[in-house]
């Protein structure tokens, strides 16, 4: 590196930034658009997210309102009826509360009838699926974000420090890999539930917040490894060397030069982690260890549906619709993840 003036090094850095910035993303976008299944899946996910986000505005029955007289109604297109009131949503406040207020102003007490039938307590299944979708998608996003932050920081640090610290940190990851986390997490959740009041009082963590944290903390290991590998391979490239010669500080190199270059790999891994996290949430909720009533999630709805299966009367909608919602979403997320991987990292595709 000696013998090069700072101007030239600065130019080299600028070039490196531009090369990765422009052509890589443009190429990736083009490749992704050619991936038919992934494109369709992405549209589906966007539509679903939109629908779930604005669920409080939609005129469906309140998800938690029990009407034993309307147990196990098959799907039907009852269009308009009157009945809901703001009091059916006791916990709703903030943005959700305001959306509900807006809905009351637009639609009055109108609600659209159980298009997907009702469950064992006469609650509208479609409304429950939409409200459950809010929770399930939220868990998927937030818990993945937690895993992302932990994994990226840990992996980048390990790769960047190198030597002894790298060895130690990766050794820890290896040991943690061998622990069957899901069982430990279930145990952890059991204990945490008991201590909920204490946690809320001391750390201000709500039940949901704890849940996000715990799930997120399971999935950071692979992310840490992936990021470390990327950092190691990028560390010795010319433009990083250039930054070092120019006297940039370690954190500055880390966050200004390395992190942007790791983004594509992280993004691919991220989209593949979201479905795994959602699957884990559904798994826990299915077992009754995850989201708790009055909140709803897809895993819980699927468990309710399967619990009502009996050979005498078939409530197919009660089993089918929650499974369909969860299944379609997870499938779409997987397709988008695969498409993104093929688009951003053509080398992986050939394997």
């Amino acid at each position: 590196m000696e013998g090069r003036g700072p101007e030239e090094l600065e130019r080299l850095l600028e070039e490196a930034r531009k090369v990765r910035g422009n052509s890589l993303w443009k190429d990736a976008m083009r490749r992704f658009r050619r991936h038919g299944a992934a494109r369709f899946a992405l549209r589906f996910l966007l539509a679903l997210s939109f629908l779930c986000l604005f669920t409080p505005l939609l005129p469906f029955a309140p998800p938690a309102r029990v009407r034993l007289s309307e147990q196990f109604q098959p799907p039907k297109a009852v269009f308009v009826r009157h009945g809901w009131s703001r009091g059916d949503y006791p916990g709703a406040s903030g943005l959700t509360g305001r959306m509900l207020d807006l809905r009351e102003r637009i639609f009055g007490d109108l609600e659209f009838g159980p298009w997907m039938g009702t469950d064992s307590k006469g609650r509208c299944l479609m409304s429950r699926i939409l409200w459950g979708g809010r929770v399930s998608l939220m868990v998927g996003l937030v818990a993945t974000l937690v895993s992302l932050i932990v994994g990226v920081v840990y992996g980048a640090l390990s790769g960047f420090l190198g030597g002894f610290w790298d060895d130690l940190m990766m050794r820890i990851v290896d040991v943690l890999y061998a622990v069957p986390f899901i069982f430990v997490v279930i145990f952890l959740i059991t204990v945490i539930r008991e201590n909920q009041e204490v946690l809320e009082a001391t750390f201000g963590l709500t039940r949901m917040g704890v849940f996000f944290l715990v799930i997120g903390l399971v999935y950071w290991l692979t992310m840490a490894r992936v990021v470390r590998g990327q950092v190691l391979s990028l560390k010795n490239r010319e433009f990083i060397e250039a930054a070092r010669v120019l006297g940039a500080s370690t954190p500055r190199i880390l966050f200004r030069h390395l992190v942007p270059n790791v983004v594509s790999v992280v993004l691919v891994y991220l989209t593949l982690t979201i479905p795994r996290v959602m699957l884990f949430e559904a798994f826990l909720s299915f077992l009754g260890l995850g989201v708790e009533a009055p909140d709803v999630s897809w895993g819980m709805l699927a468990a309710d549906g399967l619990g009502a299966v009996n050979p005498v009367r078939v409530y197919w909608w009660f089993v089918l619709f929650p499974s369909l919602a969860l299944g379609a979403t997870l499938l779409a997320l997987n397709f988008v993840g695969d498409g993104l991987r093929d688009a951003l990292d053509p080398r992986l595709r050939e394997r």
Binding site: P180, I186, V191, F283, V319, S323, G327
Partner: protein
């Protein structure tokens, strides 16, 4: 041989260390609960609660409890169950384990047979409609949770077209549906791994050599290509077993199979800490041993790899 023994000793040491960490963390988490394990049953008369505390040694100092519990666990006694009266954790696990093992092994057999056949067919018929169809099916299998698969299959094979029993523990027929649902996602993974592994190996020089030798296509595929092509599948078996153990929690619940999965979930819901801890220790040991077994198999399959 001494090489293998050294390797085993080292790995078993790491397993013991991991188990000890899991034990210690679980123990202190358990004891950190304010009011003790009966906090949700505060309406018990105080003298009964005291008796319980004495029975489980909860009235002693924490350090003493820890070492007592640890030495008892080391002797192989996981202690009494907090909630199932007169049942030791050992007995609960001993009754549940054979059922879970039967379910898990059958699921693994399904996963291997279906996955390998599908992967091989896909690789040989590369680019054809069969290949595309199987790989889309594999993506579906990987994406869907096993309880969604179970829901659909129950609707079909139990309700609409009743050929299989819905639930319970009994003959082999009772196990078919749950084992299939449990194994399906792993069959999908194995199919993908087999396909990519075989395609990679089929492009190797030594496959051309095998053909130049005049071997039959079946022999080229099954003797020369399969061994290398299956290495990724073998390394996947460790995670697969861990995944099947995890999945069995859900599947045992759906199909009412009284295995350790059911007990574990029940113990977690009932706050039966000794039982939950026993299950966690058992699962950790199982996963560790399976990974060990897989590593040994790997070295047997690939002569270039040495145990370290």
């Amino acid at each position: 041989m001494p090489h293998l023994l050294g390797f085993l000793a080292k790995r078993l040491f790491w397993m013991a260390a991991t188990l000890w960490v899991v034990f210690t963390v679980s123990f202190f988490l358990m004891r950190s609960i304010p009011g003790g394990p009966y906090s949700n049953e505060r309406n018990l008369p105080p003298e009964i609660e005291r008796k319980f505390m004495e029975k489980f040694g909860l009235d002693k100092p924490l350090a003493e409890q820890y070492f007592e519990h640890l030495s008892r666990t080391l002797r192989g006694d996981l202690g009494p169950s907090f909630k199932l009266a007169d049942y030791g954790v050992n007995r609960v696990l001993a009754e549940g384990l054979p059922k879970s093992a039967a379910l898990g092994s059958l699921a693994l057999v399904f996963a291997l047979v279906l996955g390998l056949v599908a992967g091989l067919v896909s690789a040989v018929r590369r680019g054809g409609w069969l290949d595309h169809g199987l790989m889309v099916l594999a993506t579906v299998g990987i994406a869907l949770p096993n309880f969604v698969i179970a829901a659909v299959l129950i609707l079909i094979f139990v309700i609409t077209w009743p050929v299989l029993p819905a639930a319970g523990w009994g003959g082999a027929r009772n196990l078919l549906l749950p084992a299939f649902c449990l194994g399906a996602p792993f069959a999908a993974y194995i199919a993908r791994l087999t396909r990519t592994g075989m395609l990679e190996v089929l492009g190797q020089d030594y496959i051309r050599t095998a053909r130049a030798k005049g071997l039959s296509e079946a022999r080229v595929l099954l003797v020369h290509a399969l061994k290398g092509g299956l290495l990724p599948v073998v390394s996947f078996l460790g995670p697969a077993v861990a995944g099947i153990l995890t999945g069995s929690l859900v599947i045992e619940k759906i199909f009412f199979i009284p295995g350790i999965g059911t007990h574990f979930v029940q113990s977690a819901l009932n706050r039966d800490y000794t039982l939950a801890m026993g299950c966690v220790l058992l699962y950790t040991a199982l996963v560790y041993l399976m990974n060990l077994l897989v590593d040994v198999c790997y070295t047997v399959l690939d002569p270039r790899v040495r145990l370290d």
